[in-house]
């Protein structure tokens, strides 16, 4: 039985990890909120400041997820990343489009795909496993759990970080799960019902 061993939820302007509220703030611009999370829980990763908002959000959610869950027992190819969202990279696409009339920004261009967030997470943690990023109107939990289950059950991966990473303008939501074949951490059963329960919490 595969197991949810850790999970992180980041929403305006609250952060929950494994059921514990880490931060609960009144309204603040998203950019400032993400920067405060970086200062509080990460830091010392210069590349963070160059990321677009979607990548910052997914990167921070994963950073919090793995803070007390070392992945040292895995080979680089053992950890899969599977995410989904609604707005793809539209927020950055719009910003990039605005630069095209002058000199197109290379730094913005590289973030005009949503799966760049999987790349940023992979670079940070040296993951080289399977990865996918789906775009759909809503978080399709049965599809996401079935996809992750299959990766683990067919030994395509031994661990899977999966979930919903959505951001467009000031709206954002990241709900990510560490699913493993072995149990540790919060050790919740990995099922669509359990993911739905945590997503709605």
């Amino acid at each position: 039985m595969n197991s949810i061993n850790a999970y992180t939820i980041i929403r305006p302007y609250k952060v929950i990890r494994n059921g514990e509220v880490l931060t609960n703030e009144s309204a603040a611009p998203m950019q400032d909120f993400l920067r405060r999370l970086y200062d509080q829980f990460a830091g010392q990763y210069q590349k963070f400041h160059k990321m677009d908002h979607l990548s910052k959000l997914g990167w921070l959610a994963t950073e919090l997820l793995l803070q007390d869950m070392p992945m040292t027992g895995y080979a680089a190819e053992d950890t899969a990343l599977v995410f989904a969202n609604r707005s793809a990279s539209l927020d950055t696409d719009e910003k990039y489009y605005q630069t095209v009339s002058d000199i197109a920004s290379p730094a913005l261009f590289v973030y005009t795909l949503p799966n760049i967030v999987t790349g940023e997470i992979s670079i940070r943690h040296k993951f080289k496993g399977e990865n996918a990023f789906f775009v759909a109107d809503a978080f399709d939990i049965p599809m996401m759990t079935a996809y992750a289950q299959q990766l683990l059950d067919t030994n395509a991966a031994r661990a899977c970080i999966c979930g919903w990473i959505e951001q467009y303008h000031e709206d954002f939501e990241a709900v990510v799960f560490l699913v493993e074949k072995e149990t540790r951490g919060v050790a919740l059963p990995f099922s669509a019902e359990q993911v739905e329960k945590l997503y709605q919490s």
């Binding site: 210069q46 400041h49 000199i103 290379p106 730094a107």
Partner: protein, 85 residues
Amino acid sequence: MEKLMADLKAQIIEQLNLQEVKPEDIGDDQPLFKDGLGLDSIDALELIVLLQQHYRIRMANPEDGPKIFHSVRTMAEFITANQPA
């Protein structure tokens, strides 16, 4: 030259979004890439854009990039030698 190098440091920090770096952290002769300031290939493109936007200089030969962008001093020397009258 000193004024130009000081301006360049501030422009590099702004253009490359180096939010945890201060101008005084960048040495005049410190390598900008790899073990120096740690810039990457996308940053190199941003430096080319910086030259165009701030100094109206277009690089004729991209192969000269490693020499020109070696340090703040080499960038300043290139700008001084190539700035339009």
